[in-house]
Amino acid sequence: MLELYEGSLDVPNILKRWYEEEAQSNYGAYIPFVGTVRSENGIDGLSFDIYEPILKSWFEAWQQKAKAKGAIIKMAHSKGDVMLHESSYISAVFSPKRRVALEFIDEFVEDFKASAPIWKYDLIDGKRVYAKDRSTAIKGSGILGK
């Protein structure tokens, strides 16, 4: 399940809803990862653009990988502005046993950072500044270059 929201995430409610959705599914491990906007470099917050068609197919491919190990993944992400100390990202793995969940959440979050078609901007003095230095070229980038 992939959920996109305008603005910041209601973390307690999302964590609770996901827990309750799987309460009878017989998963032994539930590991959410929650990403929150940190105060650094004088920013007022962050802002996000998302390209949904490719995000959905990327997520669906991970869901299939999880399913092959008896696990499931859920993810929520913000679009637009998210201010300091608000949260913009949650992903979670449910699996029967802990090792699969611990390994999946790590691999999923790292691939999310490297591959999910989401662009981050710092909000500084009312402007939206692309977070170029913290961004990663998607694997296979550059084929149109000289």
């Binding site: 390209y51 490719i54 662009w119 901007y121 998607i138 980038s141 084929i143």
Partner: protein
């Protein structure tokens, strides 16, 4: 005609081009000063599927997307 879209921080309006493969697209975009900083670090999708080479043929109505470096979370 194919449509070329520039995603995220690439501030550029979509293009409608009469081309039949990505090599032609590369030649056209390489002449565009606005795109100088983006071609070397952007991924390319055809109809929302990422491609890894310029060999894929294009057909009328295809959508091409340029995806610059990402940072979700």
């Amino acid at each position: 005609m194919v449509r070329v879209e520039f995603l995220g921080p690439i501030q550029k309006e979509p293009l409608e081009l009469d081309i039949t493969n990505l090599n032609e697209l590369a030649k056209i975009l390489q002449d565009d000063e606005e795109l100088k900083e983006w071609l070397g670090n952007s991924a390319v999708a055809v109809n929302d599927t990422l491609v890894s080479s310029l060999e894929a043929p294009l057909k009328d109505g295809d959508k091409i997307s340029l995806l610059p470096p990402v940072c979700g979370g």
